[in-house]
Amino acid sequence: MNTQRKTKKTKILIVDDDFDYLLQQKLILEAEGHEVITAENESQAKEIINTQDFDLAIVDLMMEDMDSGFILSYEIKKKHPLTPVIIVTAVKSQTGFSFESITQEEKKWIKADLILAKPVRAEQILKEIQKLQAA
């Protein structure tokens, strides 16, 4: 295992309606020494948000509803203002509907720190974890 990386153990919440994606991220991130909690839908995620603490949340945008990810990131920021939230989505590449959370105006309504296009590989998530920890 990669011991050079010296990342401290991070507790990550991953919300996605693709069961296999959750399983894969869990396998990889746990192998890297992180703790992973998963939710397959909005209500499971809300339950976790209200009862547990975590260091990072990665949320799929479109689940039961078109805007599930926005709703959840809003909920997370309300309960855990300092916890970074990443929204992942296939929406950008598929519909051409584009949004970012860079300008102040966008940050006002998209309560996420980063938006990544699907598919997001675990290596990318590990990189983001390092960045967030360095910040």
Partner: protein, 376 residues
């Protein structure tokens, strides 16, 4: 029936201002009903009495119909006609001339004029010419709108389809990546789990492709329908046998209740799609130890197929989305059930071929019954 309102934008080009005003007056309160498009058309008439006025008007607005004087002092009507046709704005042109000869009519038509009107004309003559052109332009407009709509729907369908096809590929690729990069650190349990999940996703993708073929075959009408007398009971039994193993694994019973139904005139492959989809759904969305009941009745030329399960049911709000393409009801209970989201939409299309329909009755956590009615 809803009546569409179309506006026909007309430009009258004639060097005599009186002529322009006259036409404007005639068309002001005129309207035409186009039966085939159920559209009521009214007219908005602009005028141009010189070459400059014509170009100014023509470049600033899209006209549906232009009434064009054949002979104007500074420019020939035929030159303008050529110019209008070359712009490819789908503008219909009616040539108006005091020098009506067979030759001028032929020449105008050759250059792309839609119609020809000889001066002097009565108000009724001009109304008739405009009415004829209106029918043409409204039907062309409808055909264009229909084509645009069709392209849009096709694009949507393909976008969703590509997403549905990419999802299992991403899943399998994800597992292969893990196996490839982390082979030495994988427990035998995880290894088997990953191989197993990959196989399940591939199976789901194959099912999607089969369902897609069924759907396009029904939709395109490419395949010749072969209506013949079919033993309904035998086909239902065959389909039930096909899924008996899946049902047995979860201890679900399949019961056939088929009364006085002999042969019925249907396309065998279409009926097979109906039975296979409904019975496999009734197993997939059932609870363990549940029941599936297939009830078939016929009354005269009417055949009714009811497939009921004791499964998770469908909420009232989800029912309306059920028969749309790729519409899968996503919730905690269905997340681990594989489906293409095409089966019910295909059955719906088949039922329509028989002037029939598919209906659903359901109660969450009690069960669902699909009722398909076909007319031979």
């Amino acid at each position: 029936m809803t009546v569409n309102i179309d506006k026909c934008r007309v430009l009258v080009v004639d060097d005599e201002p009186e002529m322009c005003k006259g036409v404007q007056k005639i068309l002001r309160n005129f309207d035409v009903f186009v039966q085939d498009a159920s559209s009521r058309v009214t007219y908005e008439v602009d005028t141009a009495t010189s070459k400059n006025e014509f170009f100014e008007a023509f470049t600033s607005k899209n006209y549906d119909l232009i009434l064009l004087d054949y002979k104007m002092p500074e420019v020939s009507g035929l030159e303008l006609l050529e110019y209008i046709v070359a712009q490819k704005k789908n503008t219909l042109v009616i040539m108006i001339t005091a020098y009506a000869t067979f030759e001028t009519a032929v020449e105008s038509t050759k250059l792309g004029a839609y119609d020809f009107l000889a001066k002097p004309f009565t108000p009724d003559e001009i109304r008739n010419a405009v009415k004829k052109a209106t029918n043409h332009f409204v039907l062309t407009r409808r055909a264009q709108e229909f084509e645009e709509q069709r392209k849009k729907l096709r694009f949507q369908f393909i976008s969703v389809l590509s997403h549905e096809l990419k999802a299992p590929l991403n899943a399998v690729e994800g597992y292969l990546d893990i196996l490839d990069n982390r082979f030495n650190n994988i427990s035998p349990e995880d290894f088997h789990m990953m191989v197993n999940r990959s196989k399940i996703r591939i199976e789901g993708m194959r099912k999607l492709i089969f369902d897609l073929l069924d759907l396009t075959r029904i939709e395109s009408g490419e395949k010749k329908r072969k209506l013949e007398n079919v033993d309904i009971k035998q086909m239902a039994q065959f389909s039930a046998d096909l899924f008996a193993e899946d049902a047995a694994k979860r201890n679900i019973s399949i019961e056939l209740d088929i009364e006085r139904v002999g042969e019925f005139c249907v396309d065998k492959s279409e009926l097979e799609i109906i039975f296979n989809n409904l019975i496999s759904n009734a197993i997939k969305y059932n609870r363990d130890n549940g029941r599936v009941k297939v009830k078939i009745k016929s009354y005269g030329n009417k055949l009714r197929i009811i497939v009921a399960d004791t499964g998770i049911g469908i909420s009232e709000s989800d029912k309306s989305r059920l028969f749309k393409e790729f519409s899968r009801i996503k919730n905690e209970k269905t997340i681990h059930i594989l489906g293409s989201g095409l089966g019910l939409s295909t059955i719906n299309k088949i039922a329509k071929l028989y002037n029939g329909n598919i209906k659903v009755k359901s109660k969450p956590d009690v069960g669902t019954a699909f009722v398909v009615t076909l007319f031979a």
